[in-house]
């Protein structure tokens, strides 16, 4: 894959994203006290928003790319994740 191709792929979701998320304006509330560190949200997020903390719970390390696609919160078996905007 060429560099130009990679650039355009990375730029695309950012341009499409109608939300303006940053570390001070996170896309999601995560109730870590209910989280069992199952890894489902981290593995399923198509934008790779999360990284696990040392206990395996999700940290929003790339919030800007979140498209609010719903995938993480509908698949969380413990209802930990809610949107900050929906």
């Amino acid at each position: 894959m060429s560099d130009a191709n990679q650039d355009s792929q990375q730029a695309a979701p950012k341009k499409k994203n109608k939300h303006d998320f940053s570390e001070n304006n996170l896309p999601l509330n995560i109730n870590l006290s209910w989280c069992k560190a199952c890894n489902i949200c981290i593995a399923l997020c198509p934008q790779q928003i999360f990284e696990p903390d040392r206990d395996g719970r999700p940290i929003q390390t790339r919030p800007a790319d979140c498209t609010q696609c719903t995938i993480c919160w509908v698949h969380c078996p413990d209802f930990c994740i809610t949107s900050t905007v929906k």
Binding site: N29, K36, C38, A43, H75, D78, T84
Partner: protein, 280 residues
């Protein structure tokens, strides 16, 4: 972490029992929680109040669900959920009666109740979480454990053939039958909604992960890995129509499988009989 204001307004919290402590007893990543979420969002979308719904279950990991939900709840004996639910529906025909059951609960010990609830076409929605094993008791083989699969009671591989719960329900007389998986989310909520709206016996079979027992014994990996396998091994009803039985071996056919809007419902028929007898 304290619950934020935004989370308090979340739809889930409207239906969780306030006096229960969370998270649930289910293993990390257990598919049961995903089904519970889909069920709650379907109920909320349909606008049912907590008091309009009765949730009935037997015994098993799956069957613990009503314990967490703030509906009229009945947690009964193993395999008997549909029998109790029949009584509830008969006494309170206006109540939305929902049975949540596992593959062992519904099809092994409760198999007879299952076929007769289908046959009567009583207006109950049955959500059957099929994790292909007895999760609660440690991974024994169930009537849906596939041939050759390992379980604690089939340590050299299962020599039995499995039930297809949807085929069984359809042949026994259920009038709405659909299958989903815990991976295919929007569809799961959609078929549960359709089942709740259907008048007559509706079955929603949900393919779910018990990675703790079935997954571990059969080397299927953790919860996210099993969700990925459900994605890879599922075929929509539309596509499956043009496929051979041999091609569908080991696949999950997902979507609406059967619907009959004509067959009369059990409580309605009984009410008619009452009116006729009164008029005599």
């Amino acid at each position: 972490m304290a619950t934020t204001e935004k989370q308090k307004s979340d739809v889930m919290l409207k239906y969780l029992r306030p006096q229960k402590s969370f998270p649930s007893v289910w293993c990390p990543g257990c598919g049961n929680g995903i089904v519970m979420g889909a069920f709650i969002r379907a109920v909320d979308k349909l606008g049912y109040t907590n008091d309009e719904v009765a949730m009935v279950s037997g015994i098993g990991c799956t069957s613990r669900m009503p314990v967490y939900l703030d509906f009229n709840s009945l947690h009964t004996a193993h395999g008997r959920a549909l029998a109790f639910a029949t009584g509830v529906k008969f006494a309170e025909p206006k109540m939305k009666v929902v049975v949540i059951t596992g593959d062992g609960d519904a099809l092994a010990i409760g198999g007879n109740h299952f076929i007769h609830a289908c046959r009567r076409n009583i207006d109950i929605t049955c959500i059957l979480i099929n994790n292909h094993t007895y999760g609660m008791t440690g991974g024994q083989g169930s009537p849906t454990t596939p041939a050759d699969a390992l379980s604690t009671t089939t340590p050299y591989g299962n020599v039995e053939k499995h039930f297809d719960p949807c085929d069984l329900a359809k042949s026994a007389g259920a009038t709405y039958v659909a299958r989903g998986t815990v991976y295919h989310y929007p569809q799961l909520e959609k078929i549960i909604t359709a089942a709740l709206e259907h008048k007559g016996f509706s079955l929603v079979e949900v393919i779910a992960n018990c990675h703790t027992y079935y997954g571990r014994l059969n080397r299927k990996g953790d919860a996210p890995a099993m969700l990925e396998q459900f994605k890879e091994n599922s075929i929509t009803t539309g596509k499956a129509k043009n496929m051979e039985a041999s091609e569908l071996e080991g696949k999950f056919v997902i979507g609406k499988i059967h619907e009959d809007a004509v067959k009369s419902e059990f409580c309605d028929e009984y009410q008619k009989l009452v009116e006729v007898q009164k008029g005599k």
